[in-house]
């Protein structure tokens, strides 16, 4: 590497992005900046500029608002996690929100027809996988660029949703479906869960370090390990305690985290996940070492379809209804792609993480929520979102390793 004295900020940024943990930093900084602005700066400004104010009102950072923020961001985050998978391949999926819409509409129609809620959810998830994988087949075996395939998918699935829901709106009263967003984990069990999670992560880190030592591999510094564990613990406890102080930890957030953990584990720790990164990094290399690039593409699009279906279920559960504008016709698609990209997942493939997609979804959600609270118009919201997206992609471009060709 370069000598200490010659390193510029950009070099440091690049090195930071190389580490697994460092990839979180830019999006966390963005989130912190947004939360500081809406949570501290705006209320203070209002207090000082308004002589009649009786006290500072921290609405944005109130537990109630944070709770709503998480729930609002959950659907975006679910789609963003799926989209991250295809972005890692260097492809894109424009049809995820429309897929979610079709799945949610189908769910509504099924439960209305008397199908039990759990069965309807499973059917819809299956349909989502088929819808995603069908596009994957066109991309991988017919060789159409994913942008075109999924653009056609976006249009086609939007139409399909309108076919399923001619009125454009359907209420969902099924108790199973509603319970996903309504069930709360009791305060005590939420804390137990958080403690178990932190203990698990700590044990994992320590065991790994012990095994590295036993096999004579280079060791991570103790500071880094404990720093990561402490950071994780703070994040988990802060989230749970904040939720508890308003209501409790909602089941939907728990499901989202569990799903993301599963997808994250598959992408980083299995041969399948490694092959996704390999195809995204250098498809020719993946082909030469004997990976079935086409099948990997289809599987990745299948996963997006599944995540989109789950996002549709989450959305239907949260709103208690399915409407065209909430899914296929609204801003959900761009917000979820934006979330994945703001999270630091490269549009050129091969770099990114599903956890960052969740943080990216929080950034997008916070921005919308904060602007709503400060009474901004829809026009302001759109322009702010655009600016944040450009900023995120600019950071991605600058921090890409020097000399690496944009793949």
């Amino acid at each position: 590497m370069l000598p200490e004295t010659n390193r510029t900020i950009v070099d440091r940024l690049r090195e930071l992005r190389q580490t697994r943990f460092g990839a979180f930093v830019p999006v966390l900084l963005a989130l912190a900046a947004i939360w500081f602005y809406f949570g501290v700066a705006v209320p203070l400004w209002d207090f000082w500029s308004d002589p009649d104010a009786t006290g500072i009102r921290f609405i944005f950072l109130s537990p109630r608002n944070i709770y709503n923020l998480f729930m609002q961001s959950a659907v975006i985050a679910t789609l963003a996690v799926g989209i991250t998978i295809v972005l890692l391949l260097g492809d894109i999926d424009l049809s995820a929100a429309a897929t979610a819409g079709v799945c949610a509409a189908l769910l509504g129609v099924l439960v209305l027809a008397g199908v039990p809620g759990w069965l309807a959810c499973l059917i819809v998830m299956g349909v989502g996988i088929v819808m995603g994988a069908a596009q994957g087949l066109l991309v991988a075996y017919v060789g159409i660029p994913s942008f075109v395939v999924t653009l056609a998918g976006l249009l086609g699935y939007q139409g399909l949703m309108q076919k399923i829901l001619p009125t454009g709106n359907l209420n969902i009263g099924d108790p199973f479906v509603r319970s996903i967003a309504r069930v709360l984990i009791p305060d005590f069990w939420g804390l137990v869960l958080a403690t178990a999670l932190v203990a698990f992560v700590t044990a994992l880190a320590l065991r790994r370090q012990a095994r590295r030592k036993a096999r004579g591999l280079e060791l991570d510094s103790g500071l880094a390990i404990w720093g990561q564990v402490a950071f994780f613990a703070v994040l988990v406890y802060a989230a749970v305690i904040t939720m508890n102080s308003y209501r409790s930890l909602p089941l939907m957030i728990l499901l989202l985290v569990a799903l993301t953990a599963l997808v994250g584990w598959v992408t980083t720790s299995t041969p399948f996940g490694r092959s996704i990164f390999a195809v995204g990094g250098n498809a020719e290399s993946a082909r030469r070492v004997g990976m079935n690039v086409k099948r990997i593409r289809v599987a990745a699009f299948g996963i997006v379809g599944l995540m989109a279906a789950i996002g549709g279920i989450f959305g239907a559960s949260r709103f208690g209804s399915v409407s065209y504008t909430a899914f296929a016709g609204g801003s959900l698609l761009l917000e979820s792609i934006g979330a994945a990209v703001i999270g630091g997942t490269s549009l050129f493939g091969g770099r990114g993480s599903v956890w960052n997609a969740i943080l990216g979804a929080l950034v997008i959600g916070s921005l919308g929520n904060g602007l709503d609270l400060s009474g901004a118009s829809a026009a302001d919201k759109l322009m702010f979102s655009g600016a944040i997206l450009i900023l995120a992609v600019a950071i991605d471009s600058i921090s890409r390793p020097a000399g690496g060709s944009p793949r």
Binding site: Q18, A278, N282, S285, G350
Partner: protein, 271 residues
Amino acid sequence: MTGKDSAVGRSAPPSHLRVYGVHKRFGGVHALRGVDFEVARGEVMALVGDNGAGKSTLMKVIAGAHTADEGEFWMDDRQVTVNSPHDAAELGIQVVYQDLALCENLDVSANLSLGAEPVSSGWRILPRMLRPIDDLEMEVRAQKAINRLEVRTLKSVRSNVGGLSGGQRQAIAIARAVGTESSVVLLDEPTAALGVAQTRQVLDVVKRLRDTNHAVVYISHNLRDVFEIADRICVLRHGGNVATWSVKDTAPDEIVGAMTRGLDVRDGNAA
């Protein structure tokens, strides 16, 4: 002519891989016109020739990327067929192409195990693609491969390939080819884009390959490197053999002459 005495089959070591009378046509172009080629274990055989001489075609035929129209393949004393890269890999023939095909977004150990990641034992209910990667085992293997080739400048097998120098990347690509139980390694212009120090590093790695009893085929334009590293030099011209020399018995001028004009006396060597 000097070429005759040291041609294939005289004082040469017993060959490990040997091809006879290889023909390859691409439509109307007769790219290989009955080429003979051989390489022994523990030697570096350089394959040189002007542009269009058929070096790359011959390499791809040996690697199974192209199928020969005619020709015999022998490994030790067994006749074999190579119709696909998979066949070649089964026989222990590995190629390091000029573009290396490394994944720059992954670290060194991931690149070395790419496509053959070790998975943890247990988890039998899951398909192999979804079992957890044993990344510690992966690092141990990578470290062994790097140590075997003595790539001293590499700080850690956990560094991303995107941040490595050209010479280090070449070494990683070679290590990947060698790591998979190979006995024949074909190197396509391994030093073409490298500076002096990096070239030295790669040549050291190639020497290590020879010392570990691999049969190395070294394709290059750079005669200085060839004369430093090779034991024998096989010259191709217009899709046919010119001759094979032992490095001790020849000089760069003679090789350049053979590459550009062929031999003055056509006495069977060009067959």
